[in-house]
Symmetry: C2
Subunit: 248 residues, 2 copies
DNA sequence: TGCGCACTTTGCGCCAGCGCAAAAAGCAGC
DNA sequence: GCTGCTTTTTGCGCTGGCGCAAAGTGCGCA
């Protein structure tokens, strides 16, 4: 389905189309194709020929990579305004990951040809894309470093903080991860197993740092997580719900 | 030092300046600054304000990232023609890694302003940069996946194969890694310790797959490494030097 | 030719985190 | 409220790979 005028605002919000003037935005829109996806549907599959560049308008996407053995790891979360599959700009490439909708999602996309054409006419788009990619690159470098040098507990703490940043919603209880996140998901994101994640979360729950349920995590005391992530000397014990463990 | 005409050929070779016409190349050159570095010198340091984009003309660079604890990991190798620190295009960023010369190196660089200006005038440059970044992104994703899902031995095998691809020189003995690579370096690249690397290489040496010395690695039987990297059922034993272990 | 340094090997002990199995707890649909 | 499915917890055993110490080796330099 071709994009309508209603999508113009969305396009203007996207990182990759920042700082474009209205005529430019209009021509971007003219080439856009919009599509809806339901929970669990795939926007594209890893290893398929990369032909379109996507921008997420609404909802969230999960990026998955399959290992040769069939195991699956979570390469990241896409929030509205982000572009994915920029690799499609190059000829004869394949998608390096699969993109799957979490909940329902609205996605805009452009063919390689069209976006290439738009970029030539409006280099700012290419610069924006470069910007976005660079940022993501840095994030990857950090994850890589964490993975090679840090213990599991720290990695999980960081993973949770990252999630909170990307999909956290403040409530009076604390920061709620506004997504169904299973222990398995967290394990994939941090390079460990669901067992270890489960044990670690339970431990944090006892300490009052978080409060976790089935595919639901509430961070009650974010600073506690930061402490673990940065390996600081444990600060004040968190404001626990329970009356007084230490005084009994 | 400002670039001279002699650098034009180098510039034309760089991935980021592919497919430019001669006038464009000339203006690129007009803004370039060339600099030489000796073994071990740093082109830039992590966390310094990112102000220039670099293209390696000759030699090799090592990208290093420091952990908060002071440990250091090897984030990659830069070969001639590659661009680094593209992040500098954005305002107010800092270099996410340090870049250090291996042997002597010739580096061209452009200021944020100038390169930005060049890209606006010639969008192809931005597209090329996007291309280069995308490729590197995929490599990072792969490393990330390997790190979370694969055993140490496989990671070392892959690391070695990657090195061979980037800096391998064919000889009649096999593929020689044309760089001083210590066990420590390999350990940083693959997320393990120099002890484990040492043990693993010794083992491979016994099997005749490689032949290693002080900061020197010769891959005698690349297929053996591939076998390990892909976890295939061990193929023919390698054509060992030693007369006949199995028949004695 | 010999010294000193940096890199490498090897032995030994240990434990963080994995892997599995089985039980428990949520959740959804009927 | 019951049934069945998915997610989560927990116990237990195990081992890959780390960490350290000490000895060995190759290389550059005087």
């Amino acid at each position: 389905m071709t994009a309508h005028a209603e999508h113009l605002a969305v396009i203007a919000q996207a990182d990759i189309f920042h700082n474009l003037d209205t005529p430019a935005l209009r021509s971007v829109m003219a080439y856009a194709v919009a599509a809806h996806y339901q929970e669990g549907e795939f926007v594209f599959y890893q290893d398929d020929p990369a032909e379109r560049v996507y921008v997420l308008a609404e909802g969230r996407l999960r990026l998955l990579q399959l290992t040769p053995e069939g195991a699956q790891i979570n390469m990241g979360l896409v929030s509205p305004g982000q572009a994915i599959a920029v690799i499609s700009l190059l000829e004869a490439q394949r998608y390096p990951v699969s993109a799957q909708a979490i909940g329902s999602a609205l996605v805009l996309s452009w063919s390689r040809r069209d976006l290439h054409h738009l970029m030539i006419g409006c280099p700012q788009i290419a610069l924006n894309a470069l910007q976005e990619l660079s940022q993501r690159m840095i994030e990857f470098q950090d994850r890589l470093r964490e993975l090679t040098t840090e213990r599991v507990e720290r990695r999980i703490a960081r993973g949770l903080l990252r999630l909170a940043r990307q999909a956290g919603r403040k409530t009076e209880q604390g920061v709620l991860i506004d997504l169904p996140v299973s222990r398995q998901d967290l394990a994939e994101m941090t390079g460990t197993t669901l067992f270890t994640v489960s044990r670690t979360l339970s431990q944090w729950e006892e300490r009052g740092i978080i409060s976790a349920g089935r595919e639901r995590i509430l961070i009650r005391f974010p600073h506690g997580l930061v402490t673990i992530a940065e390996d600081l000397p444990a600060p004040h014990p968190p404001p626990s719900e329970k009356p007084s463990d230490s005084q009994v």
